[in-house]
Chain length 270, copies 2
């Protein structure tokens, strides 16, 4: 097959990376995706860098064996902790969600005070801050881990009093004390809380969705490397693999993302 | 070494199984423990039976290689989904936390209406109900998954407005609608919420802690099989292994359980 028409590998710790797929479907309708969700070992957010790198390499190897032309790390934690290791490990281009999110946040901030909400692993990596300060040494970055958000989203508790209470607990200080004007939704699950967060924290704060920015960055990458697909992809051209629970994955895709994935396949990586 | 003085293997998906260790330390001060917490793949509660059995066998093999005389599955989900598979897989006696919890609940109920709060995996296994109805065919069991409790405990949000709201959301129906008089805390993390749950749901409901009952069941097993240790164990005789994040494990042990584990070791199982 011509290299241009090979698929793109997208992976995440679980189901959340489908938010990135959705943006790629919208923005790059010609591209065929092979998705891998590591549902047997989800979540990644509180695990160590060594463990995240080991899991990411196993998944990247699987995707390379599927003959992908590029890899998108749809998971913020794996992007923050394993991007450099994967770039050395595989021969195809690899992009994560952190750099595109950082670039976008830097474009929209007016007062150079940017908040990041993410998992503990992403926050303690400091990677959003490193990318942003490379572009803009004046920027100040305020990180806030939001460890309950993933469970709340996975339980479907989106517009729920408990979720609203946690939104205020996690985010009010970033606005009132740290005076941010821009907030990066630095975990794949968080864009699903976007509407509720926007309503609760009020106007004046611009929310940045790295999933959306990553689809744009992928488009730029494919153009730059001459790798754009020349054929329209149908939804059934995409392949979805998970390491556990195909049915649960399909239910989440349907209920939360309105994606009709009929034949997710089980793939155990160890 | 004499068989009696060999250690007991105890395992859990993560840190929660230390609540079982604590009861064993109290009740069986002569026994030396080798603990394994699968922190690289935690949590187990929402994963499939095949995956839980695969992980449990890997851990049981590791414990058998350490020459344990018996294995305690301290994780409710693994007890519910993998106990039978492990009994066939290893040559030493294996006990889980579900049967001892079921026996105790059946002893204390007066109206034969028993609630179980646990992970989705434990609830859908129906195993608490199977054990209880074997002893008492009149008993009715009402299961309620509480998927947020593990995250709330791991975040240290014990006596917290969010936790209190979730306690009422999960448990009020079991009391008001199902008229239970006994409630099994069917996940290793939940005994850490015991005081708050007891205060919030009021008198008249007996809480059953399977961790406590399992230490009693282990004692009976050791006596029955003639496997009781003859030497007093010091705290530093115990060994603690985790598959990720030794430092985080030690911090949780110290802060939440007041256990001073100084040298947890990393052991990757794949």
């Amino acid at each position: 097959m011509e290299k241009n028409n090979l698929p793109i590998g997208v992976f995440d710790s679980g189901v959340g990376g489908l938010t990135v797929c959705r943006e790629i479907f919208r923005n790059l309708p010609n591209e065929k995706i092979i998705y891998f969700g590591d549902t047997a070992r989800v979540p990644y957010g509180n695990k160590s860098q060594e463990t995240i790198i080991r899991y990411s390499k196993q998944i990247a190897q699987f995707l390379v064996n599927q003959n992908v032309k590029a890899i998108v790390i749809a998971c913020n934690t794996a992007s923050a902790l394993a991007l450099d290791a994967l770039k050395d490990f595989v021969d195809v281009p690899v992009i994560g969600v952190v750099e595109p999110g950082a670039v976008a946040a830097n474009k929209v901030t007016r007062n150079n005070r940017i908040g990041v909400i993410a998992t503990a692993g992403t926050i303690s990596s400091g990677l959003y801050g490193r990318y942003i300060r490379e572009l803009n040494p004046e920027a100040q970055i305020f990180g806030q881990p939001c460890p309950l958000f993933v469970s709340l989203v996975e339980e479907g508790m989106i517009d729920d009093p408990v979720t609203i209470m946690m939104i205020h607990r996690y985010i009010d200080g970033l606005i009132e004390k740290d005076d941010i004007d821009t907030l990066i939704l630095g975990c794949t699950h968080y864009p699903l809380l976007r509407t509720v967060i926007a309503r609760e924290i009020g106007n004046g704060i611009t929310l940045v969705n790295p999933a959306y920015e990553t689809a744009n960055a992928l488009k730029d990458l494919l153009i730059r490397e001459g790798l754009e697909s020349t054929k329209k992809a149908d939804f059934h051209d995409h392949d979805f693999f998970v390491s556990d629970g195909t049915k649960k994955f399909q239910e989440f895709a349907k209920e939360v993302l309105e994606l009709d994935i009929e034949d997710a396949k089980l793939k155990i990586l160890e």
